[in-house]
Amino acid sequence: MKFVDEFRDRELAGNIAFNIAREADPEREYRLMEFCGGHTHAISRYGLTDLLPPSVRMVHGPGCPVCVLPVGRIDMAIALALSQPVVLCTYGDCLRVPASSGMSLLKAKAQGADIRMVYSVTDALALAQKHPEKQVVFFAIGFETTTPPTAVALLQARALGLGNFSVISNHVLTPAAMHAILALDGGANLHGFVGPAHVSTVIGSAPYAPFAEQYRKPVVIAGFEPLDVMQAILMLVRQINAGRAEVENEFTRAVTPEGNRKAQVLVDRVFELREGFEWRGLGTIPRSALKLRAEYADLDAEQRYGLVYHPVPDSKACECGAILRGEKRPQDCRIFGTACTPDNPIGSCMVSSEGACAAHYTYGRFKDIAVRAA
């Protein structure tokens, strides 16, 4: 039992919270976007907003891979799994994302499609090796952290000469989405960013420089521990107070300016930029996602099976789009917690634990209602 650490954590958190409260100007607003779903989850799970003064407001960003996946991409996977004799592998969260006509990958599975939940792309690759008679398709999602493993799996498949493994790439890029958010209204509504932790270990801190220079928004890269997030918030408040807009790194224990060169080279060998990719809530963003290079076309399931993407509008009642743009909060959605719950998600933000709606539902919804404590 680590009582000493717990005591210290509490004291440290208290100190940072005290400094934020002392230094944040109550007359102005600090609207800070945590880009990454990992941070959204940490903020909710540790109740960090309780430790912030009213002038500091956290705005949830679009950095949740399951959340930003548009309906049409899931439809595409469902159609493939139902029409072809393939084994479709993907992460657990993807299975529950609502698709068109009340479908989901989970429901397609119940209708007989061979869809399997895997913990990583390596599991899917192993499945292909074990069952040469089956066509295994990995439905890949994620930001820059999950892309290198997919690249490695593709390189391995090529080296092994595996003819029964292919990938549907939905890999997306963090900086492109940040640009899109800021382009919405010139970023008038945001005063700074808590920058991603794991993503930045891969891409480094340098790609965030344009946000500081061009849009004059401070960025502080932070780890996923609650104290990391608190410290990053304090650093942002200090930059804003001083009129600075710089890229600072709270997560120096893991993030360097240039990132993980080896991983970047691997990704570059297999993937190239898509011209455009539709994001839920953000629309089609140019050069914001990756597809397989022509040399790897034979491992690209979209080409192998001639898959065509059809954009589909979101459910009318769902506010996921506005939430992913940072314009609304989960509790602003009329069906939050009533028709839409983690057990019966209507929108994608209610699916993954990193989604803003799921995080607020699971950890924070009691705050929407005045609860009398004993």
Binding site: D93, D343, R365, K367, V371, A373
Partner: protein, 341 residues
């Protein structure tokens, strides 16, 4: 008839057919190991002597995978699981039934290991396996062995425990650190296997329960937080009793290795299964005394008061975090982990 080959032999369809092969399996495997009074009678059912008091009956099916894990196996688990369900009603467990569903091709050596472990667990818990059944399913239709057990026990006079008796102001006690069973199982899973020293906490809790009842503390609810973990159990009690709860994160014991493994896999130990822990809700005035009694028992050595029952029309379970903020501890939703009990 040639004796069963416990070294190389396997279960085949004839072992469930009701014929001679099945009789042999019972005679050579189940009877010598489990021979309770009733089982030895060889009848369709067990005739049991009269008991004094109200009876408690509980049943549970066990489908754990893998069948053998650090700290136990499906045999001991099938005993502990049901003994604990009976004990949580404040009863002394007396008898068990055991029903086996075996998959064709399952090695007899493994089956014997499981039945031996079951017999040991029953002996240690002081319960007799008095009746049983065996069925065999074709290869591919089972997962080695499934075991269902039913337990019967007797409640002492004056004891009435129920999930709907928690009242605002009551204290919530936990008998020890959480998440060990679930993490021990997960550590063995294919595709997830990680090196760890975590051992399942699987144990029979009726001795601890007896000591707690002996203390005379006003205990309202006892429950063992198995599948779904502590969070699920507390939410069940809150809903049944129509109350809320406020937990203190820093008071909830989590073994360091379990905490680290959970962190690594992105799990919350509050939702990870236990097989040898209990939650008690008791009157606040008796809480300290009850905690002391629990700590004096080997299965409650790190027992702690982890929170209190509060008034809340929404039946929310809240937690004061170690950072000084508050969050909710909600029902589990979404993906359940694979089979663990």
């Amino acid at each position: 008839m040639i004796k069963l080959d416990f070294k190389h032999g396997c279960i085949d369809m004839s072992h469930g057919s009701g014929g001679r092969a099945m009789a042999q399996l019972i005679d050579e495997l189940f009877l010598p190991l489990l021979a309770g009074d009733g089982l030895a009678q060889g009848n369709d059912g067990a005739v049991l002597p009269p008991v004094n008091g109200r009876l408690v009956m509980s049943t549970d099916s066990h489908v754990v995978s893998p069948l053998f894990f650090p700290g136990g196996d499906i045999g001991s688990l099938a005993v502990h699981g049901t003994v604990n369900d009976v004990a949580m009603m404040g009863a002394t467990p007396l008898y068990l039934s055991a029903s086996f569903i075996l998959e064709e091709g399952f090695p007899l050596a493994n089956l014997r290991r499981i039945v031996e472990s079951m017999a040991r667990a029953a002996r240690e818990a002081g319960v007799a396996v008095v009746t049983g059944d065996t069925k065999v399913v074709e290869q591919g239709k089972g997962d080695g062995v499934f075991i269902s057990t039913t337990g019967v026990g007797v409640v002492r006079d004056g004891v009435s425990l129920s999930g709907d008796r928690a009242r605002p102001g009551d204290c919530i006690l936990l008998s020890g650190s959480i998440g060990e069973h679930g993490m021990a199982i997960l550590s063995q899973r294919e595709g997830l296997a990680f090196d760890t020293t975590i051992v399942s906490d699987s144990a029979a809790l009726h001795g601890l329960v007896a000591a707690m009842l002996d203390s005379g503390a006003d205990i309202r609810v006892l429950r063992d937080p198995t599948r779904g973990g502590l969070a699920t159990t507390l939410n069940e009690i809150a809903r049944q009793s129509g109350v809320g709860m406020l937990l203190q994160e820093s008071a909830i014991p989590v073994n360091e290795t379990v905490g680290a493994a959970c962190e690594f896999l992105g799990l919350d130990p509050l939702y990870v299964a236990n097989e040898g822990k209990l939650v008690a809700v008791c009157a606040a005035t008796d809480a300290e005394r009850l905690a002391a009694v629990m700590r004096a028992h080997p299965l409650g050595a790190s027992a702690a008061i982890i929170g209190e029952v509060i008034e809340d029309a929404h039946h929310f379970v809240q937690m004061a975090t170690r950072l000084g903020s508050r969050r909710m501890v909600d029902w589990l939703s979404g993906e359940q982990l694979p089979r663990i009990c």
